[in-house]
Amino acid sequence: MKWESVIGLETHVELSTRTKIFCGCTTDFGGEPNTHCCPVCTGQPGSLPVLNRTAVEYAALAGLALGCEIHTRSIMARKHYVYPDLPKAYQTSQFDRPLCTGGGVTLSNGRRIDLTRIHIEEDAGKLVHTNSELMIDYNRGGVPLIEIVTEPDFRSAAEAVEYMERLQTTLRAIGVSDCRMQEGSMRCDVNISLRRPGDTALGVRSEVKNLNSFTAVAAAIEYEYGRQAELLEAGELVMQDTRAYDANTGATVSMRDKENADDYRYFPEPDIVPAELTRGDIERLRESLPELPESKLRRYTEELGVAESDARLLTKYRLVSEYFECAARVSGSAGATASFIVTQMFAHISTESERERWSPKADAEALGELLGLVRTGKISRETAKRAYAQMAESGGRASDFISEADMEGISAEDLARLCGQAVEENPKPAADFRAGREKALQALVGAVMRQTRGRADAKAVEAQLRDILPGD
């Protein structure tokens, strides 16, 4: 690469509190316009903000999960600019005394992304543009946000996307946000400048705002790289700029002219007493943190012997990992349980939102029991799959779907006899297999399985058939 990209991200995350940051209106998404509002969040004269404790705690939890220092005293500040979605003509945010500083994320390529800060702020309302008008809905106004700011440590779009995914998994895991980019509960601004590899000084950067999908983040970075590189190669200067990304064209477009660059005139918010968390509060919050996805992944693979690809999938969803752990405890075989969930259950619980909600009819203990029977050899994997299919429909326990007969294993003599019988009764597949067609074996396996009504273990059957066939 002729140029090195130097990228920093500012991510806005909506906290999943029940109510808004300064009033008791609901934070529910959607709803008829202006029905989740009150004098406070519409900035009526004489209204006053009252800070939501859970918003502060969720912000502190996010900071703890990302390794930040949490400050006992942080100050809200007014950030002034005029736009119709901001009813007070200022956004209550934080300026020089944010809640969290420091912290960071280590990517899979070993590179460390440092965070500058995390601060609390309020969201603005939503605008609907028509040809000649703006329509304004303040339902979203006042929803609590955290803004997570990184140092300009990224060097590629892939790194940026991985970081965003990690943020998403982590914040979901600790329950402070659902981080759904398509619903707007997670949005990203990208700051990007270019420089010659080896240079330490930063080039002039442009900012691309309000990216609402991982692909948009990547595409905007790629586009900006191209645009800035072209300018620099032609000997021209990159102008410091604020840009918007157009998903239709894949290009970024300049949003505003420098002349009217805002002076935010920050000053401490006089209506809100400084948020004070004691050291004790912070420690209590730290202790309440659930296990974070990265350490859970290590535990599954190193201690429980789960395959890494299975573990990555399980740790992506908090409820799935809780389910898995419970089932694994009961079944006694973590690896097989993990694999079962990822193959059998994920097959029909297939969308992101279903997996996040994770409410299978088969409860964890029942699954664990079922797989425990497989581990002790009491039933075959096929029997287990069949029983699970029924449990997935109607819930219940293993014993509801497994008869005494199923429980009986097939003795070695029976197995040998049945295999011999199958070979006799199915001469063509047997001949094909002997002639070298691997696939033909499955017909014989199937015949034995049918005979045993699935009680036999398919692998054992296959092994037996391989044993008897060639030499016949």
């Binding site: 008829e32 029905t35 009150c38 800070l51 008008e133 703006l134 009217n260």
Partner: protein, 95 residues
């Protein structure tokens, strides 16, 4: 003292227009007020250690309260439609 140009920039930030004003008088008046405010520069005071809050206020519990009736929210708006506030002619987003 304040120059006309500085005043214009401040007025733009404050979303006030200067036409209709006697700009000369306004510039002079604001200049006088700023001069009056300049007196603080003469105060020689040490930095005082910020006192922590004497009492910790309990923050608000995250409990749902009844929102306002939409009719009330829109009651004082001169223009509204389909439940939205309406502003004529698009402006540019400042941030």
């Amino acid at each position: 003292m304040i120059t006309y140009d500085e005043l214009r920039k401040i007025a733009a930030l404050a979303k006030l227009s200067l036409d209709g004003d006697d700009v000369g008088t306004l510039t002079a008046d604001i200049g006088d007020i700023i001069e009056f405010a300049d007196a603080v520069a003469g105060a020689d005071i040490p930095d005082i250690e910020e006192a922590g809050a004497e009492e910790r206020y309990p923050l608000r519990e995250d409990a749902l309260a009844k929102s306002s009736d939409r009719d009330d929210i829109l009651r004082n708006a001169a223009r509204s439609r389909d439940g939205y506030f309406v502003a004529g002619k698009t402006g540019r987003r400042a941030d």
